[in-house]
């Protein structure tokens, strides 16, 4: 206060023209008025929590926005060995979680992931992140769960062997997803990268057949991710007759290059993704295809976009129809007898149960019948110590089974059957196994947000990622954004293959974003909870108490001597990357 001096103007000439203080006001430390204190804190964007594979979605989109495409791919690879696969087949719950969906339309995250993986630096292989542990891990099954676990375990320094019953690795990614959605070459590239870490993949080796469970006991830990391959039966007459296939059989045969003669009319029974994929493959074999589903469109478990595309390709879908018996002629399929159903009360899945309507039977001519009403796991090879329930391996949230050192994931252990969930479970298993083998800690704080997947990068930081504040694991909601700073902008749609070209074979249907479109789409991201240095806080601070950090450094400094704690910076932050707390 000693700097304050009193000036008395004695004449009119001495009085200044302007009403401006004669000295600086720096002595006036208005920070003493403050009882609330602003601060910067990055939080969790809802897409990151929404990704079952635990990707840093916001982070890779930000890198695309900066045209750092290879870095975007590298960031994805920190959590997920399959960005090129996921960029094609993921059902993208991140987009459902995206806050922008409540503003105009969610970000095209799936297409951006595909774009990042298309820009992967050729020949670059992943690096190990921990020294060799001297421990050995066996993985049963080379689907997305098994291979993801293998990838992370190998990066964490464990000697990892994957046993695969089929001829080639990939599980349902290879044998269940047709090439028009996921070309094998794309899958092979990502599997080769896993092999490059020293992972051994032993194909044509079925546990319980080629090797016994006991043979695996020399390993320090086992991860079981055998998937679901047993086709559920319709339980009707003539189901074993020639011309009846399961969905997985049809899809697998096509992948293996077996000739399939489907005839003029293929009937599909079922409403899941296998049913839709089977139908679209049959269409590509030149057959007319009709799908019967026993509930209505609302209850159909297949991804809506896939159903839409299948119908565009010529699939006829009939709802509320259930099979009664398969009709045979000369030892092979000649048709199917169907009847109508109506929806009754909801069943345990919450969906309304289909009930047959008596007297509504009708016959449909068919040359081939494909049944795709669900699959279940073949778990006969497991010892009793590994508990199962309803043909599913029982696991806790860290993928541990009832048997020590045995972990399980993927479709064989999960309720949700899809690639992203399987990847998430494989990653969780890798972290849990590493934690067991190295005696380190895996805690819930390494989970992204409240309901997300585990984050490997957080796990590698030994759980300290959120030491700064528990709020940093807070998932930013739409209402926390200041949407005055965003303008509506339509979502960019990636092109699809022309209908004439796609039906000639198995060419990939979904085309990648061109660069300008990817940049436009990345630009739509709100970056919920993550500071982008947009300068709003800096511009709005009425006390000029906020300054940019020195060059090359990220973020801002707040001069607490002068910050009055008015909170304008926090309010004007478009993306909730700031907070206010009570002055201590």
């Amino acid at each position: 206060m000693s700097e304050i001096k009193t000036i008395v103007y004695k004449t009119v000439d001495e009085v200044p023209e302007f009403v401006v203080s004669e000295a600086t006001m720096l002595w006036n430390k208005t920070g003493s008025w403050r009882y609330l204190r602003p601060g910067y804190l990055n939080k969790i964007p809802p897409c990151n929590q929404g990704c079952p594979a635990g990707n840093d979605v916001e982070g890779f989109i930000a890198l695309i926005g900066e045209k750092k495409y290879a870095d975007a791919w590298r960031l994805l690879k920190e959590e997920n060995p399959f960005p090129a696969v996921c960029g094609r087949v993921c059902y993208h719950p991140c987009e459902t979680a995206c806050n922008r969906g409540q503003f105009d339309h969610s970000i095209g995250i799936n297409s951006l992931e595909r774009f990042a993986s298309d820009h992967a630096p050729v020949g670059e292989t992943p690096q190990k992140v921990k020294p060799e542990s001297g421990k050995k891990v066996a993985i049963v099954g080379s689907g997305p769960a098994g291979l993801t676990a293998a990838y992370h375990l190998a990066r964490m320094g464990h000697e990892t062997t994957v046993y695969e019953a089929d001829e080639e690795p990939g599980g349902l990614m290879r044998y269940g997803i047709p090439e028009y959605r996921l070309p094998n070459s794309v899958l092979d590239t990502e599997i080769d990268a896993i092999r490059s870490l020293g992972v051994k993949i032993e194909c044509n080796t079925r546990i319980g057949n080629d090797l016994s469970w006991e043979d695996l006991q020399s390993f320090d830990a086992i991860f079981v991710a055998v998937g679901v391959h047993k086709n559920n039966k319709l339980g009707i007459e003539n189901e074993e007759i020639k011309g009846v296939f399961s969905g997985l059989e049809l899809l697998g045969n096509i992948t293996r290059g077996k000739e399939m003669v489907l005839g003029d009319h293929t009937v599909i029974i079922g409403g899941g993704n296998s049913a839709i994929d089977s139908a679209r493959c049959a269409l590509r074999q030149g057959s007319r295809v009709t799908l019967f589903y026993h509930r209505s469109r609302n209850e159909m478990p297949a991804f809506a976009e896939e159903i839409y595309e299948a119908e565009r390709e010529g699939l006829k879908v009939h709802f509320l129809r259930q099979p009664v018996k398969i009709l045979a002629e000369g030892g092979k399929v000649s048709g199917i007898r169907m009847r109508q159903t109506m929806l009754g009360e909801p069943d345990e899945s919450g969906r309304r149960r289909p009930e047959p309507v008596p007297g509504t039977e009708f016959d449909v001519q068919a040359s081939t019948i494909v049944t795709a009403i669900g699959e279940s796991a073949d778990l006969d090879f497991l010892p009793e110590a590994v508990k199962t329930e309803y043909r599913r391996i029982s696991v806790n949230k860290f993928t541990q089974t009832s048997s020590l050192s045995v972990y399980a994931g993927g479709d064989a252990a999960l309720e949700e059957h899809n690639v992203a969930e399987a990847i998430g479970s494989g990653k969780m298993a890798a972290c849990a196994i590493d934690a067991q083998l190295r005696n380190s800690e895996l805690t819930e704080s390494q989970i992204i947000g409240k309901t997300g997947a585990v984050s490997v990068s957080r796990y590698l930081k030994h759980g300290n990622a959120h030491a700064e504040s528990p709020d940093s694991n807070h998932v930013v909601e739409f209402k926390e954004l200041n949407i005055n700073y965003f303008e509506p902008q339509a979502r960019n749609k990636a092109q699809k293959l022309d209908m004439n070209d796609r039906m000639k074979g198995f060419r990939e249907i979904n085309l990648a974003y061109p660069e300008d479109m990817a940049l436009k789409e990345a630009d739509r991201c709100f970056h919920c909870g993550i500071c982008t240095m947009c300068d709003n806080c800096y511009v709005f601070c009425p006390d000029v108490a906020i300054s940019r950090k020195p060059k090359e450094e990220w973020g801002y400094d707040i001069a607490m001597d002068y910050c009055k704690g008015c909170g304008i910076c926090v309010y004007e932050c478009p993306r909730s990357a700031m907070f206010m707390e009570e002055e201590k």
């Binding site: 302007f18 009403v19 401006v20 203080s21 000029v544």
Partner: protein, 384 residues
């Protein structure tokens, strides 16, 4: 470069040539084209300025007050009710001594709703501390915006350039657009004495107690006194560079005149025609174009009117309950002076009604008849 421009685009070009750095405006008929054109100039990069869209004229003025406070040359434009909405902040801009230039397109105030010419909007802001210039044609619009910044920045006062709705704003005339290099030399970049500067933080426009307030306001008034001569100097200097001379007033054929018509804005042009015709017939009549209204050019008016027998003041405005505003101001300027003419005050052309040469002839004939001036302003052109 000559272009055929509407008055509003002449104003936009004036701002562009002045290299304003910040424009904040809210659209209102008949001003809209000005900012529309400026937004396009900002959009295509021909003008390197920030264009701020705001939700009202009050915010437009607040924004240019803010930007000008940071030492940045700022521009806005408005009309009628928009200007009225700015009222409080007009005082602020002048009291803070910010050299903002604003264009006001003179338009009648509602009700009844009327979008046509009337000077009442800006004249009712006469005590806000703004310099006011009333200009005659589109060339003068462009030239006056540029001169406005020279005047404003020399005396630290805001300047309002006023011109007539539709008669100028929407009418196309050939306009000479001066060379940018020449304008840059004549109007260098703005160098403020005081501005918001984080390197040298100061408190601006804070509390001034009774012991200093009068002095501060006296200085504001003195700045206006200086603005008269500055306006004449700037108009002269502009003429020397660009070939078009301006001043606080313009006297046409007044030296030997017995009668003088005092008039402002676009109505000056028909008055020029009338005095030429009457001169041709041998009448000793002159014209006093009132370009500057605030500060009021008292000395210039006295010098022109001294020794004349009659002065006719034609007002396109009315101070309700008093009469023609220019007439009243001129009466005030010559009071207590020897040898001054009788003042005949006429009100006409309100709300866009035309002031035609015939009408001016009629007024002159009436004044010439020998009757003494009426007690009150005479409303000319009323329906009989």
């Amino acid at each position: 470069m000559k272009k055929v421009l509407m008055g509003n685009h002449a104003a936009s070009w004036g701002a562009r040539l002045s290299k304003v750095k910040m424009i904040a405006a809210y659209p209102i008929t008949p001003q809209t084209h000005i900012v529309e054109e400026l937004s396009e100039m900002c959009g295509d990069g021909s003008l390197d300025a920030k264009f701020l869209k705001v939700e009202s004229e009050h915010s437009a003025m607040a924004s240019v007050i803010s930007s000008q406070s940071t030492g940045v040359r700022s521009f806005t434009a408005t009309s009628a009710n928009g200007l009225a909405l700015m009222h409080e902040l007009l005082h602020w801009a002048a009291g803070a001594r910010l050299p903002i230039v604003m264009v006001n397109v003179n338009r009648a105030l509602a009700p009844g709703w009327n979008i046509w010419v009337d000077q009442g909007d800006s004249l009712s802001q006469r005590d806000t501390g703004w310099v006011q210039l009333y200009v005659e044609d589109n060339q003068e619009v462009l030239d006056s915006v540029i001169q406005g910044y020279r005047i404003a920045e020399q005396v630290n006062l805001p300047v309002m350039i006023c011109y007539d709705a539709f008669i100028l704003s929407h009418t196309y005339e050939p306009v000479d657009i001066p060379d940018q290099d020449l304008v840059d030399k004549w109007l260098p970049g703005y160098q403020p004495e005081h501005y918001l500067n984080p390197e040298k933080p100061s408190a601006f426009n804070g509390l001034v107690m009774p012991d200093n307030y009068m002095e501060i306001r006296y200085k504001l008034h003195m700045a206006h006194e200086r603005a008269k001569s500055v306006t004449n100097e700037v108009g002269q200097s502009f003429g020397e560079t660009f070939g078009r001379y301006y001043g606080a007033v313009e006297a046409v054929e007044c030296d030997d005149a017995e009668m003088v018509i005092a008039i402002s804005s676009s109505a000056t042009s028909p008055a020029r025609l009338v005095i030429r015709e009457l001169r041709d017939k041998g009448m000793k009549i002159g014209l006093l174009k009132m370009r500057m209204f605030r500060p009021f050019p008292t000395e210039e008016v006295r010098a022109v009117l001294k020794g004349k027998s009659k002065a006719v003041v034609i007002d396109r405005n009315c101070s309700w309950g008093k009469g023609g505003i220019f007439a009243d101001e001129i009466k005030g300027a010559i009071s207590n002076q020897e040898d001054m003419p009788a003042i005949y005050s006429y009100i006409t052309g309100l709300g866009g009604r035309s002031i035609t040469p015939d009408l001016i002839h009629e007024i002159v004939t009436e004044v010439e008849s020998g009757e003494p001036p009426a007690e009150l302003s005479v409303w000319k052109g009323l329906k009989q």
